[in-house]
Every structure is written in C-alpha cells, then in structure tokens.
C-alpha cells in the first residue's frame, strides 16, 4: 500500500472491484467524495470545487474530536479517467504540503489506482508520514473501497489493509497455521487460545480471547482456502460450550460475520493483506445499523457512543447509581 520509491515520496497502489468510471466519479463528484474522503471518523464540507487545471477545491474536514481542518487543493493536471495531479494543503499564506499524482487504469473490470505523494524533503516526508499515521489517513482508501461496494451492490462492508515486509506464502502461513495465528490475532494485550483448530475448507476453530475486557469465546468456520491468495471464513461469538451467543457489550452486534482475507504481492517481497468484513446471513436492520455505526467509529461522536451505551446498560442490567 505504501512504499518509498524516492526518499521524499510515498507511493500507494490500490485495486478496486469497480469500473474506472465509478472510481473516477467517486473522486470527482463532490456529492460522492463527501461520502468517503478523509480518515475514518472524519466528515467533510465542500465550499467550492473547480475541477480543471488551475482550479481549486476548498473544503473543511471535521475531525472526530470536533476539530475542523480547512483544506485547499489546487489541480495541476486533469485528464478524465486517467490522471489527476494536485497540490495539497497550501493556501494564501503557506506553500502546499505535498503534490499528489494519481493514475487510474482499468483491467478486467477492476480499477488500479496508483498514487504518489511528493514532499519537498525527506524530513517533510517523515513528518507527513507521522501525521498520516496519527490521523489514520490510510483508512481513506479503505473507505473508498467501502463506498464503491455500496454504490455497486448496496452492500455494507468494512475494509482494512496493511502491507507487510514478508513474501506472500509466509503471510498466508500466518493466517492458516494455528501456531502462528494465535501469536498475533487480537488487540494489544490480548491472548488468543485455540481450544480446537482444524483449518481447512469446511473445518473450523474454537478459541478464547482474553484481554482487558475479560474472556470472550468465538468460532470461525472456513468456507474457502485458496493459498496463497484468499481466505474466507465466517465468525461468531459463543460461550464456553460453543453455543452461539452475543457479545455482552454489543448485544445487537450481528450474529455472524463473513471475513475475506486477500493477499496481494507488492514489489520488494512485500505483501498487502486486505481484510473485508461484512454481515453474513439474515441480520436484522438493527444489527446492520450496529455494524455501520461501529465502522464509522467516532463519526457519531459521543451521541452514537451514548446510544450504544444506553443499549448496553439496559440489556446488561447494570444498576445506574
């Protein structure tokens, strides 16, 4: 997803399951761009947009913590369905932060997006990387994938990916070898134990995950194992006896989720791993809403959190002092 081809540039390559026109429109139609632009949890307001050479796009990004960030983009090259070059972050008083070149190309109904962000110096690059990481800036390109999926199939998905410094076979092994899997799956400070594991098509795992919030049990069932390309499994919470249950803190969380993991080779023996999550089987509108709310993270601000909190408190019987 990201590599430094020059000491002052960041390159990002993504392939989208959508025709070129859909990706171009998502980038250029202000109504569409408002639905995915910016890190997860951010929303934007466009003040003006003039998509032509020399034209500018003025917009404000609203952070999940309520902070507003004014932005100006100036277009240097606009070649429909092919190429965009723009300077980002400058205004009347300061020079642009970086220059972005985006190349679009379509192969077999899939669209490749190749971005290069150039900064003035390697120091600026290091600073920009830190800012992007801090803001979760790379999630923008995941949100674009989610948006395109929704436009074409009306399906709600959650996408996240990362590029690892390891060859694809090895990355695949990390997911299907139980000894490896239990060493890293789960948030910081958690411990995954595989109680039963049979990782093959039609097989499954039963596991516990212990962490700050106690111990949870879960089961996964493998629908497809296509080494070293793809892995598909369903997943649900359960109790110690493997009976399907709900997460105590999220009772309206969908009962079954489908996880697709896609492994793609990148240059220099790197592998991009993309995880795609969606609600599986029959889910109530309330469950789908819970999934969407969770995906947008802090977008709902405290309002959204509090709604879920009320739900949790009501369902768990916690006494309100």
């Amino acid at each position: 997803m990201e590599k430094a081809n020059k000491s002052n540039a960041i390159s990002i390559t993504r392939a989208y399951e959508a025709p070129l026109k859909a990706v171009w429109d998502a980038w250029t139609d202000p109504k569409q761009i408002a639905q995915w632009w910016g890190p997860r949890g951010f929303t934007i307001t466009t003040h003006s947009r003039d998509l032509r050479v020399g034209g500018t796009w003025r917009y404000t990004m609203h952070g999940p913590d309520g902070v507003d960030y004014p932005n100006v983009t100036q277009y240097l090259e606009v070649e429909k369905y092919q190429k965009l070059v723009y300077d980002h972050g400058g205004d009347d008083t300061r020079a642009p932060m970086f220059r972005v070149t985006v190349l679009f190309s379509e192969t077999g109904g899939k669209t490749k997006m190749e971005m290069t962000m150039s900064l003035a110096t390697p120091e600026d690059l290091a600073e920009a990387r830190a800012i992007i990481k801090q803001a979760g800036g790379n999630s923008t390109w995941d949100r674009l994938a989610e948006f395109l999926e929704k436009e074409s199939t009306t399906k709600e998905i959650f996408v996240i990916n990362r590029t690892f410094e390891a060859p694809r076979d090895r990355m695949f092994e990390m997911w299907i070898n139980p000894e490896h899997l239990s060493q890293w799956m789960g948030p910081a400070g958690s411990t995954m134990k595989l109680i039963r594991s049979d990782i093959r098509k039609g097989g499954g795992i039963f596991y516990s995950m212990s962490g700050d919030n106690g111990t949870m049990y879960g089961k996964a069932h493998y629908l497809e194992i296509d080494p070293p390309h793809k892995l598909v499994y369903t997943q649900h919470f359960c109790d110690e006896q493997e009976n399907v249950s709900r997460h105590p803190m999220a009772p309206t969380w969908p009962e079954t989720m489908l996880t697709r993991v896609v492994f793609e080779e990148e240059s220099g023996d790197r592998t991009r791993v993309t995880v795609i999550w969606e609600v599986y089987g029959s889910a109530t509108p309330e469950e789908v809403a819970t999934f969407i709310n969770g995906r947008s993270g802090m977008t709902q601000g405290w309002g959204g959190s509090f709604d879920r909190l009320d739900e949790y408190v009501a369902s768990s019987g916690v006494k309100v002092a």
């Binding site: 979760g136 410094e165 390891a166 060493q183 700050d212 919030n213 993270g297 405290w302 949790y312 309100v320």
Partner: protein
C-alpha cells in the same frame, strides 16, 4: 477492567451526568458553574452527588492547582469508552501491529534454524 468499564458506563448512562461531561469537554469548570443549568430541577446536593459519581468512575477529576478546584474531564477514562465503541478498527490495527512484530521475531528464529543450509 471489566468492573471499571461497568462503572464508567453506568456513570455515563445518566442524562444529567452526560450533560456535565459535555460541559467539561469545552473546558474545566467549577462545581457551581457545572451545577447552574440543573438547579431549576434539582437541589445542589443532588447535583453534587452526580459530580461525585463521575469522580468515582474516574471520568472527572478535581484539580488541586486553583483554590476553587475546578472539575476537569479525564480524557483517559473517556478514551476507554471510545476504544470500545470503535473497537473493530482497533482490533485489526492492533492485530496488524502485533503481526508485524511477530514476523520479526519469527524471522530471527528461522534464520537461526536455516544456518546449516549455508546462508549465514
């Protein structure tokens, strides 16, 4: 941790206390400032009791710097709640972080094993 979160959640489950949190999210405030909007509908001791619940849950601290000891929001405790609400982004980010680390340690082990094959 579980009980700590429970306490945080139950403290936040009350609309009066949530309004107080919203007030404090705009900056610190004295007890009387915090109480003012509620005094039409409840007594001062009742308001103070709400503040105490927030304090006990670790959501609000009283600073010692100023004589009037203003109330301040404890960002860390609120972050725990926020973490829970967007935990699946967090779940994967942190899993990926751990996987990156694990790849490094597993690589070291394999390199050691692989030495006899001639690569040093």
């Amino acid at each position: 941790m579980q009980s700590h979160l429970d306490q945080t959640f139950s403290a936040l489950a009350d609309p009066t206390r949530r309004a107080m949190i919203a007030h404090l999210s705009r900056g610190e405030a004295s007890v009387s400032e915090l109480a003012r909007p509620f005094l039409k509908s409840m007594s001062l001791p009742a308001v103070t009791k709400h503040i105490k619940v927030l304090e006990k849950a670790g959501l609000v601290t009283k600073t010692r710097e100023a004589q009037w000891r203003p109330c301040r929001l404890n960002a860390a405790a609120l972050r725990d709640v926020a973490d829970w609400t967007h935990q699946y982004q967090k779940f994967w980010e942190e899993s990926f972080d751990r996987l990156e680390q694990y790849l490094k340690t597993a690589k070291v082990k394999e390199n050691k094993k692989g030495k006899k094959h001639g690569k040093s």
